[in-house]
């Protein structure tokens, strides 16, 4: 696949002695949105962190637009085109909202004016420090901060986790806009499978560090047996 945006193959990685990911392989096309699903602790966040160079990779390759990035040090991966929205949001508490956005910004179509337009609440709070924000605002800021890197691929690690339903809706709308209007490729890790599948076109399910299922999002959303088997209980609650 010469025209793949991302091509991962034979990836084994983990932390220290512990191997978390085993022989993970998948690829993505330009502009594609991929849902990364699975129960707690199956390696979803580890896969994202491995793409960002924050784990110990044992073997395997990661090619972004044809360029091997698996050996790049972590601080050079954003320059290669990856934008990271980590699970803990990781807003810098002693930087203002605006500084959080500009501290590592890279030139490109996304600038302050455009992220203010996407998240008007951030503009109202531009002079506030990072630790003076609500959870939802922190999540908006984390996404906006990654957009300011002008990535070719966004990695969103449970961006809707633990937020009020109205905020979830607002963020989901923003993510949809990034994908549909801006053509930005992204990987979306999510516990709420239905939300993730509605926002993406393809899905990958992990179990114990391996890819166990691949499907089109629209098919998986209707495949109750598969959802039940791979994602389980949570899904039942979600549907009820």
């Amino acid at each position: 696949m010469a025209d793949a945006l991302l091509d991962v193959s034979g990836l084994n990685a983990g932390y220290g002695e512990a191997l978390v990911l085993e022989d993970v392989a998948f690829s993505m096309a330009e502009g594609e949105a991929l849902a990364l699903l699975g129960r707690n602790g199956v390696g979803k966040s580890t896969l994202i962190a491995t793409l960002m160079g924050q784990t110990q990779r044992r073997s395997g390759t990661i090619r972004l637009r044809g360029r091997g990035i698996e050996a790049l040090p972590a601080h050079r991966r954003p320059g290669a085109g990856l934008g990271w929205v980590p699970q803990e949001r990781d807003i810098f508490p002693s930087l203002t909202v605006e500084e959080n956005l500009t501290v590592a910004a890279r030139p490109g179509p996304w600038d302050l004016a455009r992220v203010w337009a996407l998240f008007p609440r951030l503009q109202e709070r531009r002079a506030n420090l990072g630790n003076q924000l609500s959870g939802g605002e922190q999540q908006m800021l984390s996404i906006a901060r990654a957009l300011m890197l002008n990535p070719v691929l966004m990695l969103l690690d449970e961006p809707l986790e633990g937020l009020a339903p109205v905020i979830v809706e607002e963020l989901a709308a923003a993510i949809r806009r990034m994908v549909e209007a801006e053509g930005l490729a992204l990987i979306l890790v999510e516990q709420h499978a239905h939300v993730a599948l509605e926002l993406t076109s393809r899905a990958l399910v992990l179990e114990r560090g391996r890819v166990v299922h691949r499907a089109a999002s629209a098919e998986l959303i209707a495949d109750h047996a598969a959802l039940d088997r791979y994602i389980g209980m949570r899904q039942g609650r979600q549907a009820a």
Partner: protein
């Protein structure tokens, strides 16, 4: 009485400004980067010797030697950081203390070998000596100059850290190095540059201090405790805290030695212990 009080305050503030100039870099490296660099005073000493040597041997004017002291000490500290310090960033504090105390001994021995054991004399320009009468008091010109330099450096540090993108990078790298790296910030390099700037300031402070507190090879040991008090009382990594702590320390030290010549040298320790009992993290300490 009033005269001597004003005099003590003035001398104490000037002395405090000098301590601040030297110690603020230590506060930054210990507070922001978590590295206990007891050899910080050796950088100040090197700055003093750069100025003394350039003036005596090369005939440089005093003011021209100040940037040289800053730059040369910053570069020397970079060599030390790359060669030794960076290996111990993740090590325990005991390891860091042992390494840097070793560097102090080497610096003392090295300075004695190169410059000899006695005081290094310097002669500052005539317009920086003597006193000037303002109001009822006579003010020492060199001390006024020190206070002005301290104010200037404080302003530059606050603007640099709070208002520039590099300052934001330092704060981001300290807040959360993993996330800063994940945004493409080269945290190692940010810390190296910060360390260089802090050491360069120590070099500048050392150069400015020769005329006030003298310079000989025991300098890094003689003043180590003062620098550590400034950092501990001010609160790790706080510029404002370092400034206030340094001035309090300077004034108390001068006053103690004036009013209680026998026990004056102990006054600063009493003050330090009391302040730390009141605020264990220092005046402006976080965490």
């Amino acid at each position: 009485m009033l005269l001597s009080l004003a005099n003590i305050l003035f001398n104490g503030v000037a002395y405090g400004m000098l301590l601040f100039l030297i110690a603020v870099g230590l506060s930054v490296t210990m507070g922001l980067m978590g590295f206990a660099n007891l050899a910080h005073g050796a950088f100040a000493m090197l700055g003093g010797y750069v100025t003394a040597t350039l003036m005596a041997k090369a005939g440089w004017p005093f003011f021209a030697t100040l940037p040289a002291a800053f730059v040369l000490v910053a570069l020397a500290s970079l060599v030390l950081e790359r060669a030794l310090y960076r290996r111990l960033y993740r090590a325990g504090e005991l390891d860091q203390v042992l390494l840097t105390i070793g560097v102090v001994f080497m610096a003392v021995a090295g300075a004695t070998f190169v410059w000899g054991p006695s005081q290094a004399p310097i002669r500052v320009p005539a317009y920086l000596t003597g006193t000037v009468a303002i109001g009822p008091f006579d003010w020492g010109v060199y001390r006024l100059f020190l206070i002005a330099m301290g104010a200037l450096v404080t302003l530059a540090l606050i603007v640099g850290l709070e208002r520039t993108r590099f300052g934001a990078m330092i704060r981001a790298a300290v807040d959360n190095p993993r996330m800063a790296t994940g945004l493409g910030i080269n945290v190692d390099r940010v810390f190296s540059i910060t360390f260089m700037l802090g050491s360069g300031l120590a070099g500048l402070g050392g150069a400015l201090g020769v005329n006030l507190i003298g310079l000989d090879p025991s300098f890094p040991i003689k003043y180590l405790v003062y620098f550590l008090i400034v950092v501990a009382v001010g609160g790790l990594g706080s510029i404002k805290g370092s400034l206030i702590a340094a001035i309090v320390l300077g004034v108390c030290d001068v006053a103690g030695k004036y009013y209680l010549p026998d026990t004056g040298a102990f006054i600063i320790y009493v003050i330090m212990v009391s302040l730390l009992l009141w605020r264990p993290l220092g005046l402006f300490g976080r965490r």
